[in-house]
């Protein structure tokens, strides 16, 4: 593509060239991106319309618009209970994950550099093994015997820990690497702090933003997890996704309202997770080494500018994690 010749600058640009320029800007590429955007948005838009329609027979247009389905959903005790259960499991899983992962990631970046490469190998497991395969083993292992936790939320919490492990580890590792944690610890200990004290007073406050981002994003896809919830626990502890699957027979408008509610919830969490400005370039985390090499090579480095910088650096760090179908 050749560059368009610059028009000599004049006050009050003539109408025609500016129109032409605008048309030229709406090129094939913009068209492609917009169409894919529309394609991806289509199911969501359809569901939103359906959730807002009073009645929709076999016609092209709804009879009227209403918010009654949403109100009905939000006042249904069973929905609220399921929502509460989902929150409970997610909070439990995230608390457990932080408790278990933070010490490991910290030690891997201060004392045992070899541990980091071991961990980078280990965290590929949750990626590589489909949940359905894990749940076959989990069902057999914990159905009876000393740890009979199948059918209770207690099996979901550690299982969800394995789901969020890969990208939580990556997110925290990135924060620590950006911080140069080894020198920080050294400085703190020179000033007389014990390693524990140094960790809690110096390192933790510095990686708080990283932890926050990881937590929000982990939350957003734990809310969408269905396979483990349905296979290991099912209706005995009905989480949101299981509830949605169980009310299949209910009014389509009602279920649409639930789908939209779930999506908006995810949206808010994703937004909260990405609200903070990206502080450093984060290499994409990816289950594939070959990919990561090419990815980390050419990541766009945000330029310091007055406007908020593009956030995609942070997105990639977190979001190759969600597998399409959980």
């Amino acid at each position: 593509m050749s560059l368009p010749a610059e028009l000599p600058y004049r006050h009050g640009k003539p109408l025609l060239p500016s129109l032409m320029a605008r048309l030229r800007r709406v090129n094939i590429y913009t068209f492609i991106v917009t169409s894919v955007f529309a394609l991806l948005a289509l199911p969501l838009i359809a569901t939103l319309f359906y959730a807002l329609a009073t009645r929709w027979g076999a016609s092209l247009t709804p009879d009227a618009l209403t918010v009654k389905w949403f109100l009905e959903l939000w006042t249904t005790p069973r929905f609220l209970a399921a929502f509460g259960r989902s929150l409970l499991v997610a909070v439990g899983a995230l608390a457990l994950s932080l408790l278990l992962i933070v010490p490991v990631v910290f030690l891997a970046h201060t004392r045992y550099p070899r541990l980091d490469s071991v961990m980078n190998g280990l965290i590929l497991l949750p990626f590589a093994v489909p949940p359905i395969v894990s749940s076959v083993g989990l069902l057999q292992l914990y159905a009876g015997g000393p740890l009979a936790i199948v059918g209770t939320p207690w099996i979901l919490i550690p299982t969800y820990f394995t789901i969020v492990l890969p990208f939580m580890y990556r997110a925290l590792a990135n924060s620590l690497r950006a911080l140069d944690v080894a020198s920080l610890m050294e400085a703190a200990q020179l000033l007389g702090a014990s390693p524990l004290k140094a960790f809690f007073l110096v390192v933790l406050p510095n990686i708080r933003v990283g932890i926050q981002i990881a937590v929000f994003l982990a939350f957003s896809f734990l809310a969408g997890e269905f396979v483990f919830a349905n296979m290991l626990v099912g209706t005995r502890f009905e989480t949101l996704q299981v509830y949605l699957n169980n009310i299949r027979g209910a009014s389509g408008h009602f279920t649409s309202a639930l789908v939209i509610t779930l999506f908006v919830f995810t949206l808010i969490l994703t937004w909260l997770g990405n609200r903070q400005p990206a502080e450093q370039e984060m290499p994409a985390d990816d289950p594939d080494e070959a990919l990561t090499t090419t990815m980390t090579d050419g990541l766009p480095v945000p330029l310091p500018s007055a406007e908020p910088e593009p956030r995609h650096t942070i997105h990639q760090s977190s979001d190759s994690a969600p597998r399409g179908d959980r």
Binding site: N27, Y29, T30, I32, V33, V36, L40, P43, L44, A46, T47, A58, L60, L100, P103, L107, R111, L115, L125, A128, I132, V133, S134, S135, V136, G137, L138, L139, L141, P158, F161, T162, L196, S220, G224, E225, F226, V227, N230, M231, Q241, L244, N245, T270, A284, D286, D288, A290, L291, T294, L299, P300, P310, H312, H315, S320, P322, G324, D325, R326
Partner: protein, 282 residues
């Protein structure tokens, strides 16, 4: 507190133990259990479960259909994602940023809600179905068929593909294209000699990830067709939690077949990568 106890408390290994325990019990142990019990037979040990899978037309069909739908949807998803990523680098930063944010959100929108959204959009009385039939553009589209599943799978592959490929497309420098066209290369030649060789590792890697993602997908299909469509994941789930009599050993064997397929695909990809001409970009 005694000094020895204090030292033990700050001993780093103690901080790694809880992680190792939970990870071992909930990630590694189930996998090991699957590997071991797959070879368990009523009379002892052996390949009876695998023999049963291989000799049953029903299981063979499940494996074949899983492979087919996964392959089709990954290739389609990858193609659309690649074209989109290329276009994103050629249009305004605002649109690109919006697109990235949106793909992030939709990449989490999978499973049961997605299946419902598709029923509303393309089910028997779906909006799009009705609209297309109204204009006579559609004979009979069945969401609950092979084509329908490929459509839905492709839909959830696109965001993932875009997120994985987008950085790779940033490595293509504008100067290369300019240099190529100065040397008289047309678009086709540019892609053949520069673009694709540079992107090839990322494309192959992304294809593998998408394929694995589709092979392991369960929630979407289950919510859509329950157990009426014959796929590997549906069969596995049915053997351990179905309404019929349960056969956990057979489920393990089928799960192991699934894992082995994923491993083989990954190995093939790695092998191709090693053979391929690798470009390092600075």
């Amino acid at each position: 507190m005694s000094a020895a106890f204090k030292r033990r408390l700050t001993s780093p290994v103690m901080w790694l133990l809880p992680f190792a325990l939970i990870f071992g019990a909930f990630q590694i142990a189930p996998l090991v259990w699957v590997m071991v019990s797959a070879f368990k037979t009523p009379t002892g040990w052996g390949l009876a479960n695998f023999h049963e899978i291989a000799s049953s037309a029903f299981f063979r069909q499940a494996i074949w259909r899983s492979l087919e739908i996964s392959f089709m949807s990954s290739v389609l998803g990858l193609a659309i994602a690649a074209v989109t990523c290329h276009s994103m680098h050629r249009c305004g930063p605002r649109l690109t940023r919006m697109m990235i944010a949106f793909t992030n959100m939709t990449s989490n929108f999978a499973g049961v809600p997605l299946a419902f959204a598709f029923i509303i959009l393309m089910g028997a009385n779906g909006m799009l179905t009705l609209m297309l039939e109204h204009f006579g553009l559609l004979e009979d589209f069945n969401l609950y068929s092979r084509t329908g599943l490929i459509v839905i799978y492709t839909w959830f592959q696109i965001p993932l593909g875009i997120l994985l490929l987008y950085p790779a497309f940033s490595t293509l420098k504008t100067e290369w294209r300019e240099a190529a066209s100065l040397l008289g290369a047309n678009r086709l030649a540019y892609w053949q000699h520069i673009g694709l060789p540079v992107l090839w590792p990322s494309l192959a890697g992304t294809l593998t990830v998408l394929f694995a993602n589709a092979m392991g997908a369960y929630a979407t299909v289950y919510a859509l067709v329950n157990t009426s469509y014959n796929l590997m994941t549906i069969r596995i789930a049915n053997l351990v939690s179905g309404d019929l009599f349960l056969q956990p050993e057979l489920a393990s064997a089928l799960a192991l077949v699934l894992v082995v397929i994923l491993v083989i695909v990954t190995l093939i990809q790695q092998w191709l990568m090693r053979r391929s001409y690798h470009v390092t970009s600075r």
